[in-house]
Symmetry: none
Subunit: 204 residues, 4 copies
DNA sequence: CATGAATGAGACTTCATTCAT
DNA sequence: CATGAATGAAGTCTCATTCAT
């Protein structure tokens, strides 16, 4: 029924709408290609081929290669932050929250490896526009509030939030890199050990 | 006439062999250009101009752009490892050695920012040849021995060295990135705080 | 379902045939765009947008971009000739006719600047088809008859009509260009002076 | 001997100079292609092929297609003005100078048809940069001085120089166009008749 | 050995035209 | 008939590499 209505609607309005799925196809193709060959080897013809679209079609949805890259970059940053904080239990004890966040952060980097690889390749690349360059690691800032609570509960060292956060995130990032290189699976033990290291460092 | 001119030429140029200084000029120019514009924007004409050499001269010393980049990459990796371990006091107590190493590592990333930036841009780029890709983080491995000693002295947690090292190096890297972004100067206090975090995490 | 929707569609659209107004909309849009950006920058998408029509609609009325341009070119040439000769007083004395024609010609180029600009941009362009290339300046030929009369009345030099006409029209064209460049208004004095020059040259 | 010296010089200085002849080759190729196919059909690959140069070579001498076109445009305007005034007899009587100038102007348009065709195709095209657009018809202005003298000698009507000049040049341009279309040869008679028309119009 | 002009493959982008709706 | 998303050929331009000098 839906289809019929749309059919009639299109005839009457002679409308042909941009297909939002195409954007996703283009994004997917871009991520795969960057994962396989790196950002510097990315080219529009390959994206078209990979997405099974004409090369020109990409330009219906994006003004330029640069815009496509920046647009995807923004989208990934946004979704990343959402995912990390989405499953944190409200009102749980501080250490429980911290552990949830830490596990989320790590699993997120593993499960969305392609996406993080793209983001890293883009950072500092000449493709980044002014806005993208300023896109602070929001995920970074989100943890500040939690740390403040930890300090109030006398659980966390009285150090600058930026330093505490950088320490933990740097640790988490490098640990994930290690796992990926060695094609290690992320076990509960690994997550617990990694968190122990972080907890022991920040705890008062 | 051809013979004559070649004769004159060879006479004048006699004994002037490949000039090792030129390689340095080329390396320096490359590092500066990548720092300023990113690896993807690097091109041979610009390197020649920056190094005040003809573009063709670069091909006397390097077979191709790829070889130049990989060659510089190797050299930086080698020198980096050397620098980090060079000033560590032999036979000092474990914690003293650890602190020295940690401080060296951080200061090294700050003082040789251009070099590290280049290395990061290269990693995962399509320029890296097979050998470069395998170039393990030697600096990474060097700390393993020290950690073993720490474990024997019952000072360090009984965890996998790779995990302990990744934790500390990831932390250090991210902390340096934080400083560079905020154009913060590296104070003694900062180094001490950063080390405290690491020490508390690995100590038994 | 296809059949159903087509049935509905045809019912609703019944009797709605090609709309001649649309052709005018397309012509208007084309003239404006060429005036603003030049013929070489003209594109079908822009015409559709300017005419507030879908790009595909243009292809209902014109087989191709080339046909559109040639069609408009022909139409403008035809209307131009009509306008110039439309208001010439029959049976007036020769010099009166000549003056009327001259004034008409000049005012026509000024009032229909957009149209003449388009014609000039098209002439010699690769868009012109064989027929358009041959479209002789009819306005040019129309004056031949009048000059013949002038010669019979012993008012006009005994020169080739083509030369006399080219002289006058070239003069008129360049004078209008001068006015447009300097955004000069066309005064009666200007028209009289311009005609004086032409008259003095052709008069016996 | 010259060649030998240059040979040695090149060896010693390792210099390879841009070849000024290449610019001429590129200009020539451009003029031919525009004459044959019009400005809008001009493309860089064709220029390279016509000039028997690699397409990239054009970009050694010109930053872009636009720069090439504007550069050639300027050069043609400059050379055109030079040619027109170069052969005018100093201190000849006014009418003699006028005739010389007129004949030069016409013959110049005929002999350098390709060049004038290019200039006309460029005028009002979207290729013209700000400077080119302002490039007033210098040839136009040059005649002003002569007309002033004519007025002082009471030979020329007391009209605005711009109007008098536009009248004559417009006439000359259109007459040449007429000849070219009809593949008429420019005879002395033709030049004399054409000048008679102009002289009669401007003379007091 | 040193140079940089010359080259053309390959990248990005535009746009006339088609076609499903 | 009306629409505009989709397409890919063709255009502009870049740049790693070569080679005559």
């Amino acid at each position: 029924m839906r289809a019929l209505t749309e059919y009639i609607f299109h005839y009457l309005c002679a409308l042909k709408l941009k297909d939002p799925d195409k954007i996703d196809l283009i994004y997917k193709a871009t991520l795969k290609l960057v994962k396989d060959n790196g950002l510097a080897a990315l080219n529009m013809a390959a994206i078209g081929k990979e997405a099974k679209l004409g090369m020109g079609t990409i330009y219906v949805y994006f003004k330029s290669k640069e815009e496509l890259i920046n647009s995807l970059f923004h989208q990934l940053k946004r979704m990343n932050t959402e995912r990390i904080y989405s499953t944190v239990t409200p009102d749980a004890p501080f250490r429980v929250n911290m552990k949830e966040l830490f596990d989320n952060y790590i699993m997120n980097r593993v499960d969305y490896f392609e996406e993080h690889f793209f983001v890293e390749q883009c950072s500092n690349s000449h493709f980044m526009d002014a806005e993208s360059r300023q896109l602070d690691e929001e995920a970074f800032h989100g943890v500040f509030g939690l740390l403040e609570r930890g300090k109030k509960e006398l659980l966390v060292k009285d150090m600058d939030n930026a330093i505490l956060t950088a320490h933990m995130m740097g640790s988490a990032n490098e640990l994930v890199t290690l796992c990926m290189k060695q094609q290690m699976e992320i076990t509960k033990t690994f997550l617990d050990e990694a968190f122990t290291l972080c907890w022991d460092s920040i705890k008062r």
